[in-house]
Amino acid sequence: MCQVDEEYNEQLEKRTVPSVSQRCVKCKEGTAALIIRAGDAFCRGCFKDYFVHKFRAMLGKNRLIFPGERVLLAVSGGQASSSMLAQVQEGLSRNAPKKLRFTPGIIYIDEGGACGQSMEEREGVIAELETMFRATGYPFHIVHLEQVFDLPISVLEAVSSAPQRPEGSYKAAVEQFVQNARVKGSCSPGEGHMDPAVLDAQIQLSHLDTQDLANGTPPSSLQHQQDLERLFASVRTLTAKEDMLQTLRQHLIVHTARTKGYTKVMMGDSCSRLAVKLLSNISLGRGASLAVDTGFSDQRYGDVIIVRPMRDYSSKEIAFYNRMFGVPSIFIPGLDTKAPEKASIQHLTESFVTMLQADFPSTVSTIYRTSEKLHTARPPHSSEMETVAKCLLCLCALDTKEAEEASAFHATLVSERLSEKRVPESAQVGSASTADTVGQCCSSGVGQEGGCSSRGQGCCSSNLTPVTPDLKSLLCYSCRLTIKDMTGVESLPPYIVSEAERRHRRSQMKKEISEFLLDDEEDEVAAS
């Protein structure tokens, strides 16, 4: 008993020590409220300054968003993207020289249909988000995942990027913008340069956008709801489901940005999230696309550029900021909610990284810094961009040229062919996969080198017209794996299937007329 009492006293003393003596490392005065990534203790006030400054610094450093440009904020309702929305509000309302000067809008993708949420749950979430978005005064777009079944095939085309603005034009644009604002005179601090009438009209428009949904109409047709259910039911693994969801969501965001006139999209990926994404993408075979998948800016869509301004914040900083400064966010159950650790590659990677982070606090920042060092080898001329074959689904450069003998893709292909020889076709249950591999080397719109002619399996002679389009040859290594995890491709949205058919027809035609054309190389020789 005596001993217990002694310990008790000792602990009491220990307990009072940290809360009194831990001072903020920045101002040396305030009481520390949290320990941030670097291991430094910050007080509430200094933490706020640090957090707010970091956002503007990130945008300022990269000089990608021009004044007056329309920027679509992808808000999922989660902590990071809600925090991003709050930072945009903060940055736009500020009457400081470093004020942000773009024109924001908000997009929310309702994924409830893929995650098994009931209609009531989805409507509840949307109502809550609408209140949150309306409070910002920005136009907002609520898009349902079911709408992928109405997407046009143009989504899958990377529009050649707008003419590159010359170096130094950023500064000129800012100056021009500031001058224009001055000429206009008394602009309200909240809306920056915007004409109040225009703003009003915009807000009303955005309400119109969502009104037909709010008034009890189901988010989408029953047909599309079933289509979506069928699509996700046909994906066998959670890993592939998550990847598919990510792909479709991205298509909807880019399409909305294009049709509503936005030229940039802001995504709320934190550095914790990006560290997980980086590692899981390596496991998923997306190594070749790491730079675009996790970098500050992602130009794969050409005319719409994705930026990730939250990539300097850890999820801890974000959660603390939201909590301390009352930033609202909503938790919406996703595909992996309450899933066991090993349910998917993405989920397992997240557990791995957070576990490592708990013992080695520099884990995330180390992985994150690695991602900063990655660059894509971009074709020197922008005109070449169009000729570089892109993956049908993720629009990254195709990494599936057979020329690279040492690639993982090549190894898979070889083993696939070997196993194919042994198994008689009738034994293959999902016979679509066999047809795919055979068809693949013929309709190769991928490797200009052809690949199949050298191997001489005689498949080129067969005039194969598969009922379901052969997607494989149009996909990058990673997207192939996802499609492979599907029981069939018939349930894919029509725009994907149609675009696949179109590309096949085009490459077929190219092949047919190629005999009558001079080779590019011959052309060049003749010209020189």
Partner: protein, 101 residues
């Protein structure tokens, strides 16, 4: 024998799903010979509040990595974490920063 203490517990960021979807909990811990600390609170939560999947909330004798803990609105890393001695009317918040909650 210390007197029973009343605490306000909050769960957020998806952690509330393991507690029947309820975010706020007003609880009273029974009196015991030693004062309550965070380590004991976690055991108590596991035994009395958690509705399902305890491994998604506690791992070993601490919280699952990725779940942040705030005691009276300050980072528990500044307060001695598991050894923090709880006081009557303390406010303890658990926020999941994990993707699926």
């Amino acid at each position: 024998m210390a007197a029973p203490i009343a605490l306000h517990l909050e769960f957020g960021g998806g952690a509330e799903l393991l507690f029947g979807g309820v975010k706020d909990h007003q609880v009273t811990l029974p009196g015991q010979s030693q004062p309550w600390d965070m380590k004991q609170l976690l055991v108590w939560i596991r035994g009395n509040l958690l509705k399902e999947r305890p491994e998604l909330f506690v791992q070993g004798d601490t919280v699952r990595p990725g779940i942040l803990v705030l005691i009276n609105d300050a980072d528990w890393e500044l307060m001695g974490e598991l050894s923090y001695e709880l006081q009557d009317q303390d406010n303890v918040v658990f926020i999941s920063t994990l993707h699926g909650g």
